[in-house]
């Protein structure tokens, strides 16, 4: 007992001292903004950079960027909001776009509206749509998942296709090219994970539709874009121009190992593509293929996230000003995060900066960032709704049926039934 007291008394005293000094610091009006996000090499590093820039001009504001796993951030945010324990929440939190509406609608008043402060006309419209409720805009658009068609110039050349032939494709043409590539080179056209509905989402959004309509109602059976997307994935499967992948890492392996001729995904994959120095100069980037239905475009999005300020935050004013000053205006900041982290932000003006202007020798001197930036402005806006993850699970569950040749309308009905059952 004596030992215990001896061991702990100094610590308790230390704690008391620490809290006193903490109070003293607060009294001196130093503000610390606490931020939760999830990838030490990506958004954590980027937020530290943003914080450092802001502290330069506002020395009284410091930043505490805390990283948890993405699902952990969500879990903690949920618990903190549900328990109403305000001091358990950060000042700024990163939320994935697919889940944003869920938090905004489930916890009204929990997040600070930024419309009025931030000039949203400067951002990609679809990113702003994600965070809008009843005309109020919450959050600061962050990284974009604008999509592109990455293709191996060398394989396609062997099959008789030039880079010009890869522009403005339709999905049917893409599949034809895939068949010829396999015939001539023995390589599959793309990697595909049958348990990942990412490609379905990309194709669907490219035609301006989602699992939910603008009012948040389920939009599955009467959704031409979803039908066409499933149809396309079904054709890719029956044409057998894909290399099956089991999980994310395996899927990444399909193109890093040089086994496939193309990748259709979000711009954030660029860093991984470029991480293979032996493939330098062999890649090109084109807009993704387009559906042949009304409203179809060559632009879409996969993933992405945005920053939100908590209404309960004691440093709310500083947090909003910080986001607006750096993410809303600092073009140079966007050049830095593009160069250092491969992050494509959502501020359209960023494309005027030096980093975006650069031609990339890895892609044979193409100005890939300019292209992505063009496509970014064209991504159709959709309402991700509250239940995107649930709908996605339903689609994934039905993908095997698609492979076995079940008619698309039946698959749509099954998805609709499952979504309805899940969201009641």
């Amino acid at each position: 007992m004596d030992n215990l007291a001896r061991a702990y008394l100094p610590r308790i005293a230390g704690l008391a001292l620490a809290s006193v000094s903490f109070l003293a610091v607060t009294a001196a009006e130093a503000k610390e903004i606490t931020i939760w996000c999830w990838d030490p090499n990506f958004n954590v590093a980027i937020m530290k950079e943003a914080g450092a820039r802001y502290t330069k001009t506002h020395p009284d504001v410091t930043f505490n960027v805390v990283d948890f796993a993405k699902s952990d951030v969500e879990q903690k945010l949920q618990t903190g909001l549900a328990s109403g324990t305000a001091d358990a929440l950060p000042d700024i939190v990163l939320i994935e776009d697919y889940g944003a509406q869920k938090y905004l609608q489930s916890f009204p008043g929990a997040f600070a509206p930024l419309s009025g402060t931030v000039d949203y006309s400067g951002f990609a419209p679809y990113k702003v749509e994600v965070m809008t409720i009843d005309g109020q805009v919450y959050g600061m658009p962050f990284d974009s998942g604008v999509t592109g068609l990455y293709y191996r110039k060398d394989y396609l050349e062997q099959a008789g296709f030039k880079p010009e032939d890869m522009q403005n494709l339709t999905w049917d043409r893409f599949i034809e090219i895939g068949q010829q590539v396999e015939e001539k080179t023995g390589k599959k056209m793309m990697g595909l994970d049958p348990n990942d509905a990412g490609l379905v989402r990309i194709i669907m959004q490219s035609a301006g539709q989602w699992y939910f309509d603008k009012d948040g109602k389920t939009n599955v059976t009467g959704n031409p874009a979803l039908k066409a997307a499933l149809d396309t994935v079904g054709k890719i499967m029956s044409a057998n121009i894909y290399k099956p992948a089991a999980g994310w890492s395996d899927w990444v392996g399909t193109f890093t190992s040089g086994d496939v001729a193309a990748v259709v995904t979000g711009v954030w994959i660029t860093g991984t593509v470029k991480a293979q120095p032996d493939q330098a100069g062999k890649w090109g980037v084109a807009p993704i293929p387009k559906l042949s239905i009304d409203g179809a475009t060559h632009a879409s999005n996969l993933g992405g996230s945005s920053w939100y300020v908590l209404e309960s935050s004691a440093e709310k004013a500083e947090a909003i000003d910080f986001l607006n000053e750096i993410y809303g205006k600092d073009i140079d900041f966007y050049q830095t995060i593009l160069l250092e982290r491969g992050a494509v932000g959502s501020l359209l003006a960023a494309r005027g900066g030096a980093a975006y202007e650069q031609a990339d020798p890895f892609f044979g001197g193409e100005k890939v960032w300019q292209n992505f930036s063009d496509w970014l402005a064209k991504v159709p806006s959709v309402n991700y709704g509250i239940f995107t993850n649930e709908a996605d699970t339903a689609v994934t569950a039905q993908l095997p049926a698609l492979t076995q040749g079940t008619p698309v309308d039946d698959v749509l009905k099954a998805i609709d039934a499952e979504v309805s059952a899940q969201i009641q």
């Binding site: 990838d39 030490p40 090499n41 952990d72 879990q75 903690k76 328990s83 358990a88 890492s249 860093g271």
Partner: protein, 273 residues
């Protein structure tokens, strides 16, 4: 002759089966250890041979993670939780078994019922309690809810059944008070029970994930399990580094287990001979 062949075949089958099971349980550990020596790309490709990236992985781990602080946090929580849980729960288990009454039996059953409530259901009320007490983001908040462990009370009560009442009677005749009997007779006799409980509680506390995750808020208070989780969930996790972290996080529980293995096995078999 046929009998011999039959026996040999039987043995082959037995050892084949046991070997397979041993392989299945050891393989993940083996892969973890080998993974720590490989680069992330090799791990994804499924390489299960020793690689050359150990030094890089280790140095990346130690630059990305404030390892001394994180391990100190984990150790502090685990040791504090273990010592307090053993003290409180063994007293309770002893009390429930030695001083029986109808009311206490009811209380005991009610306590056992709490084993059936999943932690996820307790999480938010517990979080509000800690919030009101101003303990969010402290290690005390991590330790407190684990101290009164229904399972450990149950375990101690079961083991106390084997504690001979003659010993208690003899001690009483010699004039020992109740607390002296507990401290000087019961605790030494139940040594191996304590050892077994120590391993169980220590491992649970060390590996605890959900509650620390909810209640700890800053980089300064995080435990190793939280750090590994955040390393592993990056968009492009460096699996080699994750494996280094996992290996290091496994070492303390391994050490505790091997150190106390003999007592553990005895404790499981029943402590009083």
């Amino acid at each position: 002759m046929t009998n011999g062949i039959g026996r040999a075949a039987g043995a082959l089958l037995t050892y084949g089966f046991l070997g397979l099971m041993a392989f299945l349980s050891v393989f993940p550990f083996l892969w973890m250890a080998l993974g720590a020596t490989n680069s992330s790309i090799d791990i994804i490709k499924g390489r299960v041979l020793p690689g050359a990236a150990l030094a890089t992985n280790v140095s990346t781990f130690f630059t990305q993670v404030n390892a001394p602080l994180v391990f100190w946090n984990s150790a502090k929580i685990a040791i504090l939780a273990t010592v307090l849980t053993l003290a409180v729960s063994s007293l309770a288990g002893y009390g429930f078994e030695i001083f029986r009454s109808r009311q206490r039996e009811r209380l005991y059953r009610a306590m056992l019922l709490t084993l059936m409530i999943p932690f996820a259901a307790l999480m938010i009320p517990l979080f509000i309690m800690m919030g009101k007490a101003g303990l969010i983001n402290t290690h005390i908040a991590v330790v407190l809810p684990t101290i009164g462990s229904a399972f450990v009370v149950f375990y101690f009560r079961q083991c106390t059944k084997a504690f001979p009442s003659e010993l208690r009677d003899a001690a009483k005749v010699d004039g020992l008070k109740e607390w002296q009997i507990f401290l000087f007779i019961y605790v030494p006799v139940m040594r191996s029970t304590y050892a077994a409980a120590f391993i169980i509680v220590f491992m649970t506390a060390w590996n605890n994930y959900l509650w620390p995750l909810i209640v700890l808020q800053s980089n300064e208070t995080k435990t190793i399990t939280l750090v590994i989780s955040s390393l592993a969930s990056a968009y492009y996790p460096d699996y080699g580094v994750v494996m280094v972290g996992t290996v290091l996080a496994t070492l303390p529980t391994l050490a505790v287990f091997f150190f106390m293995q003999r007592q553990f096995v005895q404790g499981m078999l029943g402590s009083v001979k």
